[in-house]
Point group: C2
Chain length 349, copies 2
């Protein structure tokens, strides 16, 4: 039995129990989520993603420490960890983090092994975020490793998405950068004390230009004159001149260098994040992202409901029989689905 009132008060034990229920996709967990839902919608969700080896976890820790020291905000971290349950990777990750953040009642960290979640990764993450939101955490950071569709799905959960890079990664990374650049609200080059930082920043800038054509800037700043070559060097910095003058009605992803070991650039990064939140509020982007997020959550739940209704209506025997015909290649998957839908609609032959 989950005490909703305890969760709303931020009781850590009640919180931990509910998160486990959500991860297990249990009926109790779902009921609690439904009850907590009216209390959600207040947190700033920050997605942090990027290729392996870029030091995302340290960066997230440093950001959390910064928020605690500067603003005394309550911080939750949901770390989506691709390691498998049997290695205990997720638990280990928590322990490493705890060195910096342990004993601080204003921080709650939850790691999630990607294959341990029963309700689908994005859906489980969405549930956890709602729990933290209802429990009154000001900032919820969602950290994902890797690059792929699942990262994009999870980034959709966030208001502000940070894409983390590091100097001196392999060639393949170039391709990935292009793919995840589109979801980046802020680009972070972590490990900025490493050699190759200039090349990384240069490469990212030229990719940013591809992803955010100059037209977008011209549209908002009619005074700029296109020379057919894109923006000039001194116009390229997304923080200048418009944003530096306080104009946050449009957004070009800034690039921030950080060194998460000693905290260099963390305060500046936090400023970019705050500016992006302000930009979203002004531009209507905040509500738009909320809608997208709730919309895809609804779609996942609806799909699940339709499928479970189907399983009630069509017997397992019938399904097995049709599947056998597919395995023997006597029936194509498309025709098989047509037969199954006929059964589902009571028009069985």
């Amino acid at each position: 039995m989950i005490q909703i009132s305890s969760v709303l008060e931020g009781n850590r034990l009640a919180l931990a129990r509910l998160l486990t229920q959500v991860e297990n996709n249990s009926p109790e967990g779902r009921a609690a989520l439904a009850e907590l839902f009216p209390h959600t919608g207040k947190s700033h969700l920050i997605g942090v993603t990027g290729a392996p080896g870029t030091g995302k976890s340290s960066l997230v820790n440093q950001l959390a420490l910064h928020y605690r020291k500067q603003d005394n905000k309550r911080i939750a971290i949901v770390a989506v960890d691709p390691s498998s349950p049997f290695t205990g990777g997720a638990v280990l990750g928590d322990r490493v983090r705890m060195r910096d953040l342990s004993g601080d009642a204003g921080v709650f960290i939850r790691s999630m092994a990607t294959r341990g979640s029963l309700g689908g990764l994005a859906q489980t993450t969405a549930g956890m975020v709602q729990v933290f939101d209802a429990a009154g955490f000001d900032i919820i950071m969602i950290e994902t490793v890797g690059a792929g569709q699942s990262e994009v799905d999870i980034a959709r959960l966030a208001h502000t998405t940070l894409v983390v890079e590091a100097p001196g990664m392999g060639d393949d990374i170039q391709a990935i950068k292009a793919g995840i650049l589109e979801i980046a609200d802020i680009l972070v080059i972590n490990k900025a004390d490493r050699p190759g930082i200039e090349n990384t920043e240069k490469a990212l800038r030229s990719m940013l230009e591809l992803a955010h054509p100059t037209e977008r800037v011209f549209k908002h700043h009619g005074t700029y004159i296109s020379d057919g070559q894109g923006l000039k060097d001194n116009e390229r910095d997304p923080l200048s001149p418009a944003i530096a003058q306080g104009d946050i009605s449009f957004w070009l992803p800034p690039i921030q260098q950080t060194v998460s070991i000693d905290g260099k650039g963390i305060a500046e990064l936090a400023e970019h994040i705050a500016k992006h939140a302000a930009h979203l509020r002004i531009s209507g982007g905040w509500a738009a992202r909320e809608r997208t997020r709730l919309g895809s959550e609804m779609e996942a739940l609806l799909q699940e409901a339709l499928m479970s209704q189907f399983r009630e209506k069509v017997s397992g025997q019938k399904i097995d029989q049709i599947m056998s015909q597919v395995f023997e290649r006597n029936l194509s998957p498309w025709d098989a689905v047509r037969h199954l839908m006929d059964n589902n609609n009571g028009r069985a032959k």
Copy 2:
């Protein structure tokens, strides 16, 4: 209009056209897939996955060259490329590959931008694989970059999954290794001429032991005696003693070092792949993987059919109305889905 007979004969133009239809998830493409389905089930599907920077593409090219030279087999390559359409990454990738393999009518390469596919990544890949299968390609290699749920989904498509590593990658990689080790049938350490190769192999071996507990070996080889420490060093090589003696009734993922620049280790890798195919045939694993693959394809198609039926039955107006209540947080997503299902079943309030 797609000429099925031309595709079955392996006509390259007809093939290219159909692949585009499949990528666009068009009705013509689907109809063609249904017609081609009885002709599928003959190819050996090889999944190749791993973190960025491990040199997967070069490895796939070298393997293709090897198969062409040694066995004169017809090879198809489906490269799932995470770069976004606007950078032209996929096209560029094709061009780089063409240097080695161009002009060879026995090789067909198709790159796919992950966000360009309209029917879901795994589903589109499955469709492409079926086209190549029906068109008589002996070996179909499916190459995916990154590490995440989508890679696991795509690996499920393959009979044999290669996980590619390289020496000297970041710390985060350790966690990913553990996650994708479970899907590996063969482990490849590419760029084996680089420093750190011994450490990489050592780390992979100890992780393999975690993933494939000694019990599994004992079960099959009762003569081994557990010393409580796991297998002894000379028993650890998965190719000895059992498999070296021709016993392929059980499978422990071998580790193969390769240098894809000069082709070192490629012939040995091809041997491992052939042995794994033989193992699957003997153990019943081949049929089991076919079933899993077709089963998940059916599930995706069924979900789609259920959803499109839902959209026919429930008006867009009703959906919008309920969504607004969710956005205003007057209705939880769970209760909203219950309302929508009532509408779907003609029990609207």
